[in-house]
Symmetry: C2
Subunit: 111 residues, 2 copies
């Protein structure tokens, strides 16, 4: 059962976790990110949030999660090399103190 | 626009990133996890995957991502304290070399 759904669903996930540098205008930056991603049709779904959860040792200094899904690896690659993404990265990257990225074909257990 | 959807949707995300210890039977463990989570009604959606993505410095040694969503913080709390979860943690925790957890009410930009 575990493997059925991944094979059936296809899809590709791009999950990014970030700690921003002190002094960064995070709200402004996430608004820009939302605008950039909303304008790229290859992105199937996008959600993000700021951790309000558990103990520090479990979040390891990270504060924000950005979760994007794509219909497949090709769409993800198209997003990665999209001019608007490349352009926005010039703003985003310098604001980041630490970043963790996992890219994977998801196994959907409960949809 | 950014804030509209979170307020409208409610919901709560539990995002977990793991690096397992060497020698751990990861497939067996994830099968147990899938079974445990499938049996807890408070979990609204669950997907997971193994990173096949980018460069090592972006994944920082982590390999697996697990994303659970809930209708709200109450359901998440019920999951956290569910006996099956507590019981499974006794198997899972010793297998983990490094873990990162972010818990957040999501802003859904694209559903």
């Amino acid at each position: 059962m575990v493997w059925c759904c991944r094979d059936m669903m296809g899809g590709f996930n791009h999950y990014v976790v970030v700690k921003f540098k002190d002094g960064v205008a995070v709200e402004e930056l996430t608004e820009g990110l939302v605008k950039m991603i909303s304008g790229i049709e290859h992105v199937k779904s996008f959600q993000w949030g700021k951790d309000i959860g558990g103990p520090d040792f479990l979040r390891q200094g990270f504060t924000h999660a950005f979760l994007m899904t794509f219909n497949g690896k090709e769409e993800f690659d198209a997003f990665q090399s999209h001019p608007n993404h490349v352009e926005f990265s010039k703003l985003f990257s310098p604001a980041v103190e630490n970043i963790l990225v996992l890219d994977f074909p998801p196994t959907i257990v409960k949809a």
